[in-house]
């Protein structure tokens, strides 16, 4: 069966004052699947998704979304096309309620229908397990709850592609399990690009894995293929699972 790519990049490169964070990355994201992007610290994963979402300007190379070249579009236009992004470093609206945080994410799609926005917000908050806390202030929440809130803000946009940069970082073990369940429940619904250090999460959720090392694509394959891959093991030597 031929897989359809909803998004792909060609020769995507980022240089920071001489540091090559990404070099000629050619990447494909299969529609409706969960693709994990893994690699050691500093491999360039965040830089890569930053360039895909438009948050970081690429030095050169192209990003294609649904067949169209979106390389020149500013971040907000790409998000409007259906690419949602959660930050590696939690980024919410600390002074606002959880409800308002998610409403801001949902509102664009409902153009003025506040009742529909409210309903959407309730559904999404319940789905990530924050339903009871809707009227609390985001800044007062624990780290784990703020991470969940970020995820909720992503879902609330009903994205076509959902990019998550280390969503389980700093979550308690039980919360990680909940996250895995949440990802699985989305199977087929949304295309997910997941950056993750926690190998349990990767192995349990990903349909496909791309490994990045020193800013370049090192390997591509199914979880079991990657698991066996000698080059990947070498790149990770000493930095595997134990890290988290």
């Amino acid at each position: 069966m031929a897989t359809v790519n909803i998004l792909h990049t060609s020769g995507l490169t980022k240089t920071y004052a001489g540091i090559k964070a990404n070099t000629d990355v050619d990447f494909e994201l299969a529609q409706g699947k969960i693709t994990a992007l893994i690699g050691p610290n500093g491999a360039g994963k965040s830089t890569f998704v930053g360039m895909v979402s438009g948050r970081i300007e690429a030095t050169r190379g192209q990003v294609f979304f649904e067949g169209k070249d979106i390389s020149k579009l500013p971040a907000h236009k790409r998000i409007q096309l259906g690419i949602a992004y959660t930050f590696q470093i939690t980024s919410v609206f600390p002074g606002l309620t959880l409800h308002e945080n998610v409403a801001l994410a949902a509102r664009r799609a409902f153009r003025g229908d506040e009742a529909a926005v409210d309903a959407k917000v309730r559904t999404v908050l319940t789905r990530v397990g924050l339903g009871e806390r809707a009227n609390q202030i985001a800044g007062d929440q624990s780290y784990g709850h703020q991470r969940l809130l970020e995820i909720a803000m992503g879902f609330a946009q009903d994205p076509k592609v959902f990019i998550l940069d280390e969503p389980t970082q700093g979550l308690a073990e039980s919360e990680v399990q909940d996250f895995i369940q949440l990802m699985k429940s989305l199977a087929g619904e949304v295309t997910i690009l997941l950056i993750e250090h926690n190998m349990t999460v990767v192995m349990e959720t990903a349909d496909h894995i791309t490994v990045l090392d020193q800013g370049m694509v090192l390997a591509n394959g199914t979880p079991s293929e990657i698991h066996e891959n000698a080059a990947v093991q070498a790149a990770y030597l000493g930095t595997t699972d134990a890290e988290d």
Partner: protein, 314 residues
């Protein structure tokens, strides 16, 4: 009671009190209150940008002056009817703020403060440079005959109070509505976390530009109203001092609250008024009170109220 009902009740309540004050207070104080309401229009315009959008401008005197001169010069020199000249004043301020916004929004933070300060200074010097038309430092007076609308003499005590009240009420209610609308809420989001707002698909730059235009237009309306009700247009109103005033009023009253600007102007006006009746060193007293307030009520008076008892305050 829902938050929006409480808010509606509060805003109408404030207006009822302001209207009633005219019949209760002696003339000296009604005169003061008229001035306070007019300056509060300016403060509300400033608050929209500073308190809600999170952009600290040090150049709002330019917008205030644009409204003031836009109205004053067209009514005296072109002889336009008052309502037309008044609308022209607001339009002038909107256009000026659009241009300043397009330029200043290339910067942020401290650079934004400096750029707005510089533009306002350039505006002030422009007024002096074209002294032949603007009458420079000396300014000009708008005659009583040109301060009448639909047969109502706005130089009379009641006419002035009524006009100040109506124009204040329009801005007060419209802005309260605007900050609770999706547009206003997105501006608050920009204030809280601009990058996040962008990464939710909002064109933050464009929204900030719109906020500057709204803020500039309302500030300009404050300037036009001041000229209309107090009959004087002068370059002093374009000085740095008049850019700092709204910042102080809003900080004292409560930035990012709808009632804060009015409270701030009222408080500062009477603080200076009362302390100057006791001592010549009134600025010292005012200064000490301001320092105490920033120490013990850093969110401003209305901001503290919101924090402690009225979390629904918009």
């Amino acid at each position: 009671m829902t938050a929006s009902r409480k808010s509606m009740g509060l805003h109408l309540g404030v207006l009822v009190v302001l209207a009633a004050l005219f019949f209760i207070l002696p003339p000296y104080h009604t005169g003061n209150m008229a001035r306070i309401m007019v300056l509060a229009i300016y403060a509300m315009g400033y608050n929209f940008l500073f308190g809600y959008t999170g952009l600290l401008s040090l150049g709002h005197a330019l917008f205030f002056a644009a409204g003031m001169y836009g109205f004053g010069m067209t009514v005296t020199q072109l002889g336009l009817p008052v309502p037309v000249a008044f609308a022209f004043g607001i339009l002038a301020a909107a256009v000026v703020s659009l241009v300043i916004g397009l330029l200043a929004l290339r910067t942020s933070g401290v650079a934004f403060m400096i750029v707005t300060l510089m533009f306002a200074q350039a505006g002030y010097l422009t007024i002096l440079y074209f002294g032949e038309y603007t009458r420079g430092d000396e300014g000009f007076v708008i005659k009583q005959a040109q301060r009448t609308v639909a047969g109502i003499d706005l130089t009379s005590e009641a006419g002035r109070y009524g006009a100040a009240f109506i124009l204040f009420a329009i801005c007060f209610l419209l802005l309260a509505r605007l900050v609770q609308s999706p547009f206003g809420r997105t501006l608050i989001a920009i204030r809280e976390n601009e990058e996040r707002t962008r990464m939710l698909g909002y064109d933050a730059t464009r929204l900030k530009l719109q906020a500057i235009v709204v803020s500039g237009a309302v500030s300009g309306m404050g300037g036009a109203t001041y000229a209309l009700l107090f009959g004087y247009v002068g370059a002093t109103f374009a000085t740095v001092q008049y850019s700092i005033f709204p910042l102080l009023w809003v900080l004292l009253g409560g930035a990012g609250t709808t009632v804060g600007p009015l409270i701030g102007v009222l408080f500062m006006f009477y603080l200076i008024d009362i302390s100057s009746s006791y001592t010549d060193a009134y600025m010292l007293i005012a200064g000490v009170v301001l320092v105490l307030l920033t120490m013990f009520a850093p969110q401003g008076l209305a901001g503290e109220l919101r924090k402690r008892v009225m979390p629904w305050l918009p």
